[in-house]
Symmetry: C2
DNA sequence: GTCTATAGCTGGATAGAC
DNA sequence: GTCTATCCAGCTATAGAC
């Protein structure tokens, strides 16, 4: 299974192609990626790219997978804290995710929106997304277990609502104020507030309080 | 200022061009709009389009403006209810907005995301967005006045958080499950829950409760 | 107002030499 | 593994006849 020199060099080139493609997308838009332009910037002729990627879609797919792996990787450092303080870990993870998205707006758009006409990620590229969702659900369950969250906060709706909060803050910031620093962005700076709002809504019932039945209910009757 | 027959016919053609462009975008992606294809579908030759729009960007801009006007228009029916029950009006408006976005995914993407490389809306096209934001702020202020919301819910952060909720639900649904009915979508069906969560977080202080200082605060110290 | 014709360009992708 | 050469297609946009 050893990677010999040839293979190493090849992987380096693959990485360089993806990096260059990201540069092109940053300037021309996510949907504006061009194989020819990518090749030119690398000092290559366009046909040579096809030795590494069989099509433009393949490049998008590789970038999608890279982005997904990176967002999952961003959460890794906070897994350890999950057993001590799940809520703290969730907030830290949320802030790290939002910060990553602002630092990598092109990848974030590829992941959170669907800006490229013909492109659908392959199952292989999508797999990290599944793991990320499982990780989030596990974290929310840990918060329930620690008495920081009502059980409804970790069920299907709770998870969906939490991901909507993430997507909402990131989408608004990217669409309206893409180059603001995370701490100052009109939307990204509200990340802790959003997490608070979530935990407040799904606050666990306190036995000594008598209006607790109003909180953390699964789906309030509000039609 | 009368619109004679010639002008009327022209405006009809303009509308037809925009409708056809939307069809093309629905099939080819928002960034996949083609002047030539639009013309062909109308039984025209491509150059004739330039009698109505000087460039592709002009079509995007007209569509952006149309979309903005429509989303504002969707809220119109609920203005009357603002004085009676602001919270009810906000919820109804939110549901109408989400339903509109799902019924017009192409326009919604153009408004909520930035999927088209070179395109930035002109101030003229953007103007309805400003009105929409003012309307939202007025609605939130009405809720404060009616004792349904703490003052912090209508300040700058509250407005930004509310729009993030809207954008989050719509983004997640469009990206992950675009063709689900609003009532059944994993994310869109949580619209009432999201609004509840917002109002719960910014609940007005109740004088007889003694833990009220924990709710509705502007920006909780949670770093 | 609509057309033909066309300029001018860029793109994705392949064949086959080196 | 990289190249030259090339195919073929598509596009935006303009000039100028009808």
């Amino acid at each position: 299974m050893r990677e010999d020199r040839r293979q190493l060099r090849r992987n380096e080139t693959v990485r360089e192609i993806l990096d260059t493609a990201l540069e092109v997308m940053a300037e021309e838009g996510v949907a504006g990626l061009s194989m020819a332009e990518t090749a030119r910037r690398m000092g290559m002729r366009p046909p040579s790219l096809y030795q590494y990627f069989p099509s433009k879609t393949a490049i998008y797919d590789a970038l999608f997978e890279r982005g997904m792996r990176e967002t999952v990787g961003v959460l890794e450092p906070y897994r350890a804290e999950l057993s001590r303080d799940p809520r703290g870990a969730l907030l830290a993870g949320q802030q790290a995710t939002v910060a990553w998205a602002m630092a990598h707006p092109v990848l974030a758009q590829l992941l959170y929106w669907r800006p490229v006409p013909g492109f659908e990620p392959t199952p292989r590229a999508f797999e990290p997304a599944v793991r990320q969702l499982e990780l989030l659900r596990a974290a929310l369950r840990a918060a329930v277990h620690a008495g920081q969250l009502s059980p409804a906060g970790a069920d299907e709706d709770g998870v969906a609502l939490y991901t909507s909060l993430t997507a909402g803050v990131i989408s608004q910031q990217l669409a309206n104020e893409p180059s603001a620093p995370v701490q100052e962005g009109r939307f990204t700076r509200l990340t802790p507030t959003a997490v608070d709002m979530f935990f407040h809504f799904y606050a666990p019932e306190e036995s000594e309080s008598d209006d607790s039945d109003l909180r953390g209910r699964r789906t309030p009757a509000a039609d």
